[in-house]
């Protein structure tokens, strides 16, 4: 992978309300307790998915080549 993989570009054209959109989805979700709760629930959901999948999931996930 090249060192220049992703070049950060300055924002020139559009003015953005930074207090509302500081960084991706968290930015737009960061202001309310309800949204914080949503992300907490998502994290719990993810943990649950990983637990249910189990340790052997990747090894067992073998597909037949197809088209």
């Amino acid at each position: 992978m090249a060192e220049t993989r992703f070049i950060e570009k300055p924002i020139k054209k559009k003015k953005v309300k930074t207090e509302e959109k500081d960084s991706s989805i968290e930015g737009s979700l960061s202001m309310t307790e309800e949204k914080r709760q949503k992300l907490k629930e998502l994290d719990e959901f993810i943990d649950d998915v990983l637990e249910k999948a189990g340790d052997d999931f990747l090894e067992e996930f073998r597909q037949v080549e197809g088209e």
């Binding site: 992978m1 090249a2 060192e3 220049t4 993989r5 992703f6 070049i7 950060e8 570009k9 924002i11 559009k14 953005v16 930074t18 959109k21 500081d22 960084s23 991706s24 989805i25 930015g27 737009s28 949503k38 992300l39 629930e41 998502l42 994290d43 959901f45 993810i46 998915v49 990983l50 249910k52 999948a53 999931f57 990747l58 067992e60 996930f61 073998r62 597909q63 037949v64 080549e65 197809g66 088209e67």
Partner: protein, 523 residues
Amino acid sequence: MSVPKVVGIEQEYAISVKGRGDLSPFHASCFLVNALARDLGLRDDGVKMLWDYGHETPYHDIRGELFRKVVGQEIVSESENLRINVALPNGARFYTDHAHPEYSTPECISARDVVACDKAGEVILRRAIQLAHSAVPDMQITLFKNNVDYQGHSYGSHENYLMDRQAHEDHLVRNPEKIVSTLVPFLVTRQIFAGAGKVGSEAPETRDSSYQVSQRADYMEAVFGLETMYARPIINTRQEHHADERRFRRLHLILGDANMCECAAFLKIGSTQIVLQMIEDAFLDEDLSLRDPVKSLKQVSADFRSRLDLADGRSLEPLEVQRKYLEKAQQFSLRKDVDHVPGIAKILDVWGSVLEGLQHLRITTDFAIDGDPLDVVPKLDWLLKLWLLNRYREGKGGKWDLPALRVLDLQYHNVSGVSGIFKQLESEGLSERILNDADIDRFISTPPPDTRAYFRGKCVERFPREVYLINWEVVGFDHGNVNRLIPLLDPLSGTQNHVEDLFEDCENSKELIKSIQSRARAR
């Protein structure tokens, strides 16, 4: 002169079976097909609807060559045919392809409809899983709408577009350099919004990538070719058009990823429709030929801002290439002498906002999303998945080599029920939608009204005991001493406008055929 861009998606699903170790993926796929067929009454006594393989010619090449030794289709016995196929009342086909369940949408005219049909397919397959589980409670089948298994295997999410015969022959057969200078650069760069995202690499060219834009790029090895399971091409040259060959051709694309995000899927299909129409109407006048399209494909997947070498010596970022197509499409949309693809204004709007969003997106060299001021992340699979993976790995030391990241990558595409991560994200409003639930629900049991899929679906719904064979371009009825075939060579005929009244007035397929004949004589 362009023709309406009728489009369909063929989605192969990865399958996992637990609780019945002796059940192979092939048999589990067949189990799903038949569970659904039984539920719809399509395995009742007296119903024997065979899929007609007579028009499938996977070894014929549009360039005139015939590959391999086998000519024509494989012979499939009737019992095997019934075991692996079911044609649905919504005009779709659900079947076992090799060892995968595959859902082929009915033909649609609009990008919005085909995305809704593809999403309806997810619902239908979920229903099949529930039915199978009810029949065998200790068996758990899980389906994943993705393209890689992290064990070196890939499976497809194919797109089919109707093309004008003359334009197709001119661009793909007689002068392939034309398609290399117009369509190929678009396809190579569209992954910046169409990619489904993938942890890691499965090809030498991208071996240093912790995360990639595309699932399929690692598996593409040629610009043109007939193959689909090795030496996969950007442009598949299979000569199998499923329509009147005097007027139409089918463009079969196998390079795309399986999209979960409605927005990404809509933009992938809609923008491709517009570009194809511009090609047919000779509207694209800039030669954007890439020096090495296959290398560029992998390059974009590894770094969506890498500069691509063009054959004429220029180098452009994928975003710059896409902007050129968008600008031409915007000009093209103003033409009054063209029947534009349905929803072109919406497609252009989404296309523009996504490119603008990507332009302003800030991603660090370690793939952390450092800024998304225009909210492009919820629109695209590769970014939404990246956001999720970043959220997880941040709490685990920030490493990319955690096995859990690959598990989450796969589970993002789980369509079976409670463990589907994308479904969870969508239900929490974290993925931007194009459709509403009603758009999807209507295509679970109803065919699109504006293509031949309407006729096919209605025949399955109304006269299942009389249909003895069916495929994309024909419906055959068993009338005792004689079999009657209704050709569907024009994908734009057999629509609701054309035939709804016939279905309302007819009690059986004999009456239907008489009505069709008398209407034809009256013209």
